[in-house]
């Protein structure tokens, strides 16, 4: 079964090792600006969060990439940008809702998570096991918990209002 890259948010300490491993693996250089995963730390707030591509495929829908250089890898299910064809136009950057596609400043081409072909280095480099690469079915369970937690604070009107009492009921 396909696997999914996920984060356990409480665990991240913001060390940035995932960024280093990512850039080293893909570019042989250690540079957070060349990483496809981004650890956002807000120093004066309790925020240390790895932000990365969830492989939604929005950047790959027709009409966004003028070179049609974005496709889905059938093995890992990751959405891949073919850097040989990329012209660095930035359309995919604009389309990405999570801000995890960037243009590198050397070659001016898009950088995006490719799940390292099914062996994500960020998972290996994470000392806290905050990043995990799990089976899709398990991932679905955790995704449900995640979205459930979003609904924790306020009532969200997703339940239909009670229907009127049936006629004749006293």
């Amino acid at each position: 079964m396909v696997k999914v890259l996920m984060v356990i948010p409480d665990r991240c300490t913001g060390c940035g090792r995932c960024e280093e491993a990512c850039s080293l693996y893909h570019f042989n250089v250690i540079d957070p600006l060349l990483s496809a995963i981004h650890v956002v730390r807000i120093e004066n707030e309790p925020v240390d969060a790895p932000v990365f591509c969830i492989q939604c495929g929005l950047c790959g829908i027709p009409g966004i990439c003028p070179e049609n250089a974005i496709y889905r890898d059938p093995n890992t299910f990751s959405v891949i940008i073919d850097r040989d064809r990329c012209t660095g136009c930035g359309n995919c950057v604009a389309a990405c809702p999570y801000g995890v596609i960037t243009i590198d400043r050397i070659e001016r081409k898009a950088i995006k998570c490719d799940l390292c072909g099914g062996d994500p280095q960020c998972v290996k480099a994470c000392p806290e096991n905050a990043l995990v690469y799990v089976e899709a079915e398990d991932a679905a369970y955790y995704k449900r918990i995640f979205f459930a937690k979003l609904q924790r604070k306020e009532l969200v009107p997703i339940v239909p209002y009670p229907s009127p009492k049936p006629a004749g009921d006293s």
Binding site: D10, T13, G14, C15, G16, R17, E20, A21, S23, L24, Y25, F27, N28, V29, I30, D31, P32, L33, L34, E43, N44, E45, P46, D48, R105, Q121, K124, A125, P127, E128
Partner: protein, 639 residues
């Protein structure tokens, strides 16, 4: 020209007086001779710092330096080191900080920044893409560290930057002002912030853009993963990550080594109130880690309400807790968290700050100072409010705070009346919260001869006899088993300390954190692991023995620097309280019995003269430090 790996290969020279920046190439011979980090800094300081210069004058240097491993995937490598002449001691000043500034400085393209001169108006230094520029900081002057960092981030815009800044304490030349990077990470001791303030340099901002090339990426990546697995599965490191350094409060108290009441005793009844347990249960939000760290000892905490309400910030760690807690008999955790926040935000060394106030309280109790000196303030043990008031007064040099801003050593010289006897210092630097009487006699040696004065972390935390681990030093000649922690002379202590101190220099030159050398060989950055990581990163082949030789060079240059500044054997002595028995608790009655013999044994191990403390000619020749030898000969300080 061959490319650099691991190193960026660039050294930035900044002359603030002329408003000029120059980028130089790193000398190809230096890595093998000095490795990097404080190794490079010691070489530059020896060559370029004018002898006997006033550290706060425009001729003095301020050096920011990162090691070859800094900013790489090697575990625990996210460190920045600063070197300067200390305004607190008048001798060698060095300090280390974690966070991500060191890494970002290297990503911006620089291994080292050498700053000299004094700017006419406040400025900050901006680094990006292997370029640097000096920018106006008039609008930032007067701001606290957090305010200035926020303002700079806003100014820079949509970029990830790291900021190292000084606060009001540095601007006001408080002698123990710190340089604070990434909001709360402190390059605390020795007064680097005052040196930076004297140059009218408010901050250094690093935004990256260059990255670090790796010589053998595949091998380096697998070595890093291997090291990471070994270090994270070690139980000692796990405990450090789980409870942080503040975990030491209860264990040191249990053995009677928790410095209390200005080092009168080593036991504090209410220690449980300022323990890691108290912090974690009530105030801690999460753990944090410095750049590339796999341990993650940093606490992130806050106080939600009440008179000590404090916004979320990193800390407090063990030293801060002890200096603001047991040392002043204060058992209020909230006040300690507030103290830590204020000290960081004003940019002051929490150790000297807390220690100085505790000294003042003791002097007040004994009637050596009174309300005429303090401007009406009543100083009492356990009075957290006055303690915090003094923090404000010191940062802005108001009233009695103006005197305390000099540190207890200088302040006691000004006051006299016997207060000198109460100062716990070596070379003018106050003792940190580790008591050599109860903990380990290695500490006694390090406090006495350490180049920057009494310090438990520079070059390294030396209590390996207490911890019962070797961190792999046996392979480079550490005598094993180590003597009992309380045994003093005739037990190979000098010889053992030599290896321990040099290992510290290795760590400081490489850019690592000392906490990676505090467990068994397998779970730490042991010498051979360091050598393997270094070679695969830089492509420069060096084995553990060669790295230790480079470290010994650094260690001796620092000694030579101090000798040139006027160091004599008398400076290498412990304060009176260390030879006075501990008053109460489990370690009651313990003291350092033979301070002189301990120091002399270490001298001999390092190849220094037993009678004078000068470096022997043969030692300098063995390390091929010819220029240092000539320099010392010209002032007649070679044995």
């Amino acid at each position: 020209m061959e490319e650099w790996h691991g190193y960026t290969g660039n050294v930035l020279r900044v002359d603030l007086g002329r408003g000029k920046v120059v980028i130089e190439k790193l000398d190809r011979a230096w890595p093998k001779l000095y490795v990097g980090g404080l190794g490079f800094a010691s070489k530059v300081m020896w060559d370029e710092e004018p002898p006997k210069v006033d550290p706060l004058s425009k001729e003095s240097l301020l050096i920011a330096t990162a090691g070859p491993m800094t900013g790489t995937l090697a575990p625990g490598s996210g460190n920045i080191f600063w070197a300067f002449k200390s305004p607190q001691t008048g001798f060698w000043g060095e300090t280390r900080s974690g966070g991500k500034f060191g890494a970002f400085m290297k990503y911006s393209g620089f291994d080292m920044i050498i700053i000299r001169g004094r700017s006419e108006r406040p400025v900050y230094l901006y680094l990006e893409d292997c370029k640097a520029e000096i920018r106006d900081a008039t609008h930032l002057w007067g701001m606290t560290v957090h305010e200035a960092t926020n303002a700079i981030k806003e100014e820079v815009g949509a970029k990830e930057v790291s900021v190292a800044a000084i606060g009001p304490a540095g601007e006001n030349l408080v002698r123990y002002a710190s340089i604070i990077n990434d909001y709360d990470r402190a390059a605390g001791r020795s007064g680097g912030g005052a040196v930076m303030g004297s140059k009218q340099l408010k901050a250094i901002v690093a935004s990256g853009g260059c990255g670090i090339r790796v010589y053998d990426p595949e091998r380096f990546l697998s070595l890093c993963y291997e090291a990471q697995r070994a270090i994270t599965s070690d139980s000692g490191n796990m405990v450090m990550g789980m409870h942080g350094t503040i975990g030491g409060v209860m264990s040191l108290n249990a053995m009677g080594g928790l410095p209390t009441q200005n080092f009168r005793t080593g036991y504090f009844e209410n220690a449980y109130r300022v323990s890691s347990d108290a912090l974690e249960r009530n105030y801690m939000i999460k753990r944090r880690a410095c750049h590339s760290c796999v341990i993650g000892c940093s606490r992130y905490s806050y106080v939600s309400s009440g008179k000590y309400a404090t916004p979320p910030n990193e800390g407090p760690e063990y030293e801060t807790v002890d200096m603001a807690g047991p040392m002043a008999l204060n058992d209020n955790m909230e006040a300690i968290i507030r103290f830590n926040y204020l000290a960081n935000n004003y940019g002051m060394d929490t150790i000297t700050l807390g220690h100085t106030i505790s000294w003042a309280i003791e002097a007040y109790e004994l009637g050596m100072i009174n309300e005429n000196d303090t401007g009406g303030l009543k100083l009492r043990w356990g009075d957290a409010d006055t303690f915090l008031t003094l923090v404000d007064m010191i940062a802005y040099r108001r009233g009695f705070g103006n005197l305390l801003a000099e540190g207890s050593y200088v302040a006691s010289k000004r006051i006299g009346r016997g207060t000198e006897e109460l100062v716990n210092h070596v070379k003018g630097l106050e003792l940190p919260a580790h008591d050599p009487r109860a903990e380990s006699k290695f500490l006694a040696i390090q406090y006495a001869i350490g180049p920057r004065g009494a310090c438990h972390e520079h070059p390294i935390y030396p209590s390996y006899d207490l911890m019962g681990v070797d961190a792999g030093m046996r392979e480079v000649g550490l005598p094993w088993p180590l003597p009992d922690r309380l045994e003093e002379v005739g037990v190979n202590r000098g010889k053992a300390y030599r290896i321990i101190a040099l290992f510290g220099e290795v760590i400081n030159s490489m850019g690592y954190c000392n906490f990676y050398a505090a467990t068994v060989a397998k779970g730490s950055l042991n010498p051979s692991r360091i050598a393997r990581l270094y070679s695969s990163l830089t492509g420069i082949e060096m084995n553990a023995r060669e790295i230790f030789e480079a470290a010994e060079r650094t260690w001796n240059i620092k000694r030579a620097f101090n000798l040139r500044e006027g160091l004599e054997k008398a400076h290498d002595s412990l304060p009176k309280r260390m030879t006075t028995p501990i008053l109460s608790g489990p370690s009651k009655g313990l003291k350092v019995e033979k301070p002189k013999e301990l120091v002399e044994e270490a001298y001999e191990a390092f190849g220094w003269d037993k009678e004078t403390g000068y470096i022997k000619e043969s030692t300098l020749q063995r390390l091929s430090l010819r220029e240092v030898l000539e320099g010392l000969k010209s002032i007649g300080k070679v044995a």
